[in-house]
Amino acid sequence: MVRFLAERSFGMIVTLFMVSVMVFFIMELPPGDFAERYAFRKFSGTGVTITPADIAAIRAELGLDQPAVVRYFDWISGIVLRGDFGQAYAFDTSVNNVIGQKVWLTLGLLFATLIITYLISVPIGIYAAVRRGGAADYGLTLFSYLGLALPNFLLALVLLYFANLWFGASVGGLFSAEYAEAPWSAAKLWDLMKHMWLPALVLGWSAMAYQIQTVRATMSDEIGKLNVTAARARGVPETRLLLKYPARLALNPVVSTIGFDVNRIFSELPIVAAVLGLTELGDLLLKSFLDLDMNVAGAILLMLTVVIVVMNFVSDLLLAWLDPRIRLGG
């Protein structure tokens, strides 16, 4: 078990290192550099003409005239050692300030989505497998096909439309107007919960469709296995039998794909956020890509990926805990 942990931790660190290189590469990709965009942004419309010398000065001041390798290590060491993600030019402040508590909002949304996804997909998948071939099963298969085919922004729009129709206009966004700028309180948290279900449902949609199919498939396989027949042959009551034997194993693929689900959810986050007006990292990521504010975008991309890598690790641990064959190296 110790060896297992050490191996996984080491792999995680290597992956994270390579991810950071990749993210840095994307940050460097747009034509022009931070100094130019910063200068144009700061002085455009002020009547001040910017000379190449001004830009060079900013560049030197920020250390942007260094080779890429040096800049990468400046950037990454700032993040790792001081938690400092650098400057956000579009807001004329530090990236940390721009991102601020949006990280927690995003994580909250992520976990709400994961919980809703699993609470819905696992029981439904199990049910569909037990009632295989029935009308409910066909309906669910159809639903999961649709779940994978319907672009999430479209689903967001449709749900928003009906939510507006049924619950009034206050459904979009993460907060009601009166709480948006208010300090945190129990009332604000409750308000957040009330707004969270719709984005969580939209974000979890395709993960749900996917997991229903996986749970159904694994459960169907497991139900047909000899150990289930053997348990039935020793007189275990049916409901308990289904839950203790096949359902327990049907959880394995779900647990082992938590990382994928987080990836899928984060992948859809920016677009869903744009449609639903969510004021968290996804929305900020899209805006900063459109503004080419690459320090902010890079920071967010890195954060999202770190969460995914960590969740992958958690999923490995959970799986080892659930399945003795992995835990005991069988």
Binding site: V23, I26, A149, L154, N164, F266, E268, I271
Partner: protein, 384 residues
């Protein structure tokens, strides 16, 4: 009974027919078998038909679409769909017609809006003259499949906020979106072949290194990654440049799943005798992989390729939808849907969502065809 077969001492005619059918089945080639099994999968056949129809309509959009993708009808802006009819309050006609339009000015906002004029009739006609265009980029045509008499315009699915015909634009968009999918899948296929091939054939250290890189690509959320790359496209690029850049971006990161498949298959057959024989005969690795190893699992590769289409199409649509993908004047499903970003559109101009229907239909069709192919390609499948 004439000849006694030692294996089957007694055989009735029905049994012989059954046996011959079985023998024909055993003698059929792998591809014939896949086709037989696929043909029995009705949903997959329907999906394939839908995709072929879409591809056909898109390919010959210049003929099927009455108007060009950027042609504007200033007299019918944000106009609702015009459904051809045979009867109205003035009686019936054997030829389908639509009502003409007239422009009225809103007394309050003074905005001009189009309104059907029930007093005029415009008859639908086929093979009407239109703007000259190049079919398949080579054949000049100036005939359209259908239109209205007297040069009036027919907007089957209405017009968008600039007065462009949604039906025509959807056909052109179908061509763009499907072709981006095809090119993206091809690029990722080539990459997967090279990367998975090298990893699976050589194994060992090279394999571990490649696995690490694959892990990185798999772990970064894909749409934000695409966004980062798309955001880097210079603003001054032409729509053609952007189009090819988009296919490249989509293809560049679509390979991990397929590469993984190729790698594991290659690893599993690396030790087979026929591979060793080819190696001893002095064949180069690329040749061994290409002509000896890949053919043993071509059908799986095809299935994976078909299944990866939906991701390409959905990614392109999503990126264009938020303005990080194709740019006007290029037209794709995602570009068209840019006009349908808010709930108000559902209420005021729902026909702008028609391209979304195409997205869903195409993705569904690809998924179902992929499932059908997978069932058909599985030699241990139940269908026999």
């Amino acid at each position: 009974m004439t000849v006694m077969d030692p294996q089957t001492p007694l055989e009735t005619t029905a049994e012989r027919r059954e046996r011959e059918k079985r023998e024909r089945y055993y003698a059929a080639s792998q591809w014939t078998l896949i086709w037989w099994r696929f043909r029995r999968h009705r949903a997959a056949m329907a999906g394939a038909a839908i995709l072929l129809t879409m591809a056909f309509l898109g390919l010959f959009a210049e003929f099927f679409a009455p108007y060009g993708p950027t042609e504007r009808n200033r007299d019918y802006v944000s106009g609702p769909p015009q459904v051809p009819m045979f009867c109205d309050q003035n009686g019936c006609s054997l030829r389908p017609f639509v009502h003409g339009t007239r422009t009225v000015r809103d007394p309050v906002t003074l905005r001009a809006t189009a309104e059907p004029d029930p007093e005029t009739r415009r008859h639908v006609a086929f093979f009407v003259p239109g703007e000259p265009a190049m079919l398949l980029g080579a054949i000049p045509i100036s005939t359209r499949l259908f239109g209205l008499e007297d040069g009036a315009q027919l907007h089957l699915w209405g017009t968008d906020t600039l007065g462009r015909d949604v039906f025509s634009r959807t056909l052109y968009a179908t061509r763009t979106s499907l072709s981006i999918g095809v090119l993206g899948v091809l690029i990722s296929f080539v990459l997967a072949l090279v990367i998975g091939g090298v990893a699976g054939y050589f194994g060992g250290l090279i394999d571990s290194a490649i696995q690490r890189v694959t892990e990185v690509v798999r772990v970064i959320p894909i749409i934000p990654l695409y966004m980062g790359l798309a955001a880097a496209m210079p603003k001054e690029w032409s729509s053609t440049q952007v189009y090819f850049a988009m296919t490249l971006i989509l293809g560049l990161f679509g390979w991990p799943t397929l590469a993984r498949r190729i790698r594991s298959q290659l690893l599993s057959i690396r030790g087979e005798d026929y591979v060793l024989a080819a190696q001893l005969a002095g064949a180069r690795p690329a040749r061994i992989i290409g002509s000896h190893m890949l053919p043993s699992f071509t059908s799986f590769i095809i299935v994976d390729l078909v299944i990866s289409f939906p991701y390409m199409i959905l990614s392109e649509t999503a990126l264009s939808f938020v303005g990080l993908g194709l740019r006007p004047p290029a037209v794709s499903w995602g570009v068209m849907l840019q006009q349908a970003q808010s709930v108000q559109v559902i209420e005021q101009a729902p026909w702008l969502f028609i391209p979304a229907g195409f997205v869903v239909l195409a993705v569904l069709a690809f998924t179902i065809v992929g499932d059908g192919l997978r069932d058909a390609a599985d030699p241990y499948g139940q269908a026999g």
